[in-house]
């Protein structure tokens, strides 16, 4: 099982930054695009993606696969996703370890899963079916969560590892989500990172969050905080070179500020890499 090669340092592609990207060739190695934004019949978003795809590798990242839902898999959605992937040839397709609704409703949120053996078997089965349908391994991301279910039988990191190994999928480790959930649930974020299987992780997310005093909320509308940078360094030490990107979905700063965050990620990863080589020597 060979992991896809690292893509370097990327950004979440958002329309507000098209003007800073198209024709400017900023120092970005790749882009992550939200699948649903491009699962439309036609128009400017697809035309812009064509232009960007000509110059950069992309990965597609969805929010509506609802892999943990007990509702039937939505094959209309999966067909549209497969067509999008066929057209734009992303390096990989990712979505979240969550559900988004049942009974035909979509709550447009990344809803939490109880860490039970029933949920584990259900999710593993669905990931396998999706992978069969798409004809490729998919990438599953850990989400931020705000509630702990009494029904849970294992830790989140154990559940995540079991999902990846049993379904034979890749993982997208969202470092901010680990930090947010560790604060909300009171677990040790370092222990989480050190329990995720190295051979499964192909991508990191970095993002900001909001503070609500008693809990933190994953809003992607703030700069990456110091604690997350510190956790990212630990993740680099454990996982080595991994495709890394910044997610920003609100309170959009000047493009240069995102580029500065990306430079900081590069610098951290480079320092860890140098340190690793020195230790090896």
């Amino acid at each position: 099982m060979e992991k896809p090669s690292p893509l370097g340092f990327g950004l979440g592609l958002r329309p507000v930054y098209y003007k800073d990207i198209i024709g400017k060739n900023p120092r970005i190695d790749w882009f992550e695009v939200i699948s649903e934004n491009f699962m439309v019949p036609g128009g400017r978003p697809l035309a812009m993606l064509e232009r960007i795809r000509n110059d950069y590798p992309i990965v597609v990242h969805g929010v509506s696969m609802s892999i943990a839902s007990t509702a039937p898999l939505n094959f209309d959605y999966l067909r549209a996703l497969k067509a999008l992937a066929h057209r734009f040839q992303p390096e990989w397709i990712s979505d979240h370890l969550c559900w988004t609704g049942v009974h035909g409703i979509n709550l447009h949120d990344l809803l939490p899963v109880p860490y039970t053996s029933e949920a584990l078997a259900h999710i593993v089965d669905r990931i396998r079916r999706v992978q069969d349908f798409l004809g490729r391994r998919i990438v599953i991301e850990n989400v931020s969560s705000y509630v702990t279910f009494g029904e849970s039988e294992m830790d989140e990191w154990t559940f995540l590892r079991e999902v990846a190994e049993r379904a034979d999928c890749w993982l997208l480790l969202d470092v901010n989500n680990v930090f947010v959930s560790s604060f909300n649930h009171g677990f040790d974020e370092t222990r989480y990172i050190s329990s995720v299987p190295v051979e499964r992780v192909v991508q990191f997310h970095l993002a900001g969050h909001s503070e609500a005093v008693t809990h933190k909320i994953d809003t992607h509308d703030q700069p990456v905080c110091e604690e997350v940078w510190s956790l990212y360094q630990k993740a680099c030490q454990r996982f080595g070179p991994i495709s890394t990107m910044i997610e920003r979905d609100g309170n959009f700063p000047a493009f240069d500020e995102l580029m500065a965050e990306l430079d900081r990620a590069r610098a951290i990863a480079a320092a860890v890499s140098d340190e690793t080589h020195e230790n090896a020597a």
Partner: protein
């Protein structure tokens, strides 16, 4: 409890405010389960409201933040999203307004919602290569009465309350709102160069375009227009419409019917 039962309860907690799910949730060390579950309850409403605000910014300006907030609240209560793609969530808002007691008499607001919805639909419609007016050069003059046209998938024609376009323009340009008017107007929507476009149609162009979309040949459209205008010569007028449709980028195919 099974996973299916837990998800049904969780969803009922978000949509209906049902408290049953709280029995499955633990307090954290810092706060209670009600506060934590409220993150999901609030995010659901906030997110759907954000989709609607993004899709109907001019309607929001027209009726004001407070009234728009109430409209959004009513719509969310009546219509949970059934689409994986949030872009379509607001598609039924104009119909909801037209069918709801509190809104159905506010025709200007309803038609402004229709106007903005048509812009969104034109923006996202399927792609198709458009023809330039040069496509007509290859057609012999004697065959031209028999030409039929196919149009770009983004094309929309809406009959709206008179003044809807003026209200939209005034609000987007920061001008004074026009006085209420009685009557109807027809607005053509399409996508040009990646952007949603619109313009008003005269009653003659409306008739010509409606019939052209139904596949009526150009000669028959001229005859219809002549009938409307008591037999006066309308070929030049119809030719003007045809030329404008090509200029706008509305025409995707020209053929000659038998």
């Amino acid at each position: 409890m099974t996973l299916a039962e837990l998800q049904a309860r969780f969803q009922a907690g978000i949509i209906e405010g049902d408290k049953t799910i709280l029995a499955s949730i633990a307090d954290s060390r810092k706060t209670d389960r009600e506060t934590l579950f409220a993150v999901y309850y609030d995010a659901y409403r906030f997110r759907l409201a954000e989709f609607l605000s993004n899709d109907f910014p001019v309607l929001r300006d027209f009726i004001g933040d407070e009234v728009f907030g109430k409209l959004v609240e009513d719509y969310i209560e009546s219509a949970p999203s059934r689409q994986p793609n949030a872009r379509w969530y607001g598609a039924s808002l104009p119909d909801f307004m037209a069918e709801t007691l509190a809104w159905r008499k506010n025709l200007r607001a309803i038609d402004l919602a229709r106007f903005e919805r048509a812009l969104s639909e034109a923006f996202d419609a399927a792609d198709a290569p458009i023809l330039s007016v040069d496509a007509l050069r290859d057609i012999r003059v004697e065959d031209r009465p028999r030409i039929t046209l196919e149009f770009h998938p983004s094309l929309r024609l809406l009959d709206l309350a008179l003044g809807t376009e003026q209200i939209y323009d005034a609000l987007t340009q920061g001008d004074e709102l026009p006085a209420a008017q009685n009557g109807k107007e027809t607005i053509l929507f399409w996508r040009g160069d990646g952007q949603a476009c619109y313009r008003p149609l005269t009653s003659e162009e409306r008739l010509a375009l409606l019939e052209a979309r139904h596949g009526l040949p150009f000669g028959d459209i001229c005859a219809l227009l002549a009938f409307q205008r008591n037999g006066s010569d309308t070929i030049l007028q119809a030719a003007g419409f045809l030329s404008q449709w090509f200029t706008d980028g509305l025409v995707t195919h020209v053929s000659i019917c038998d």
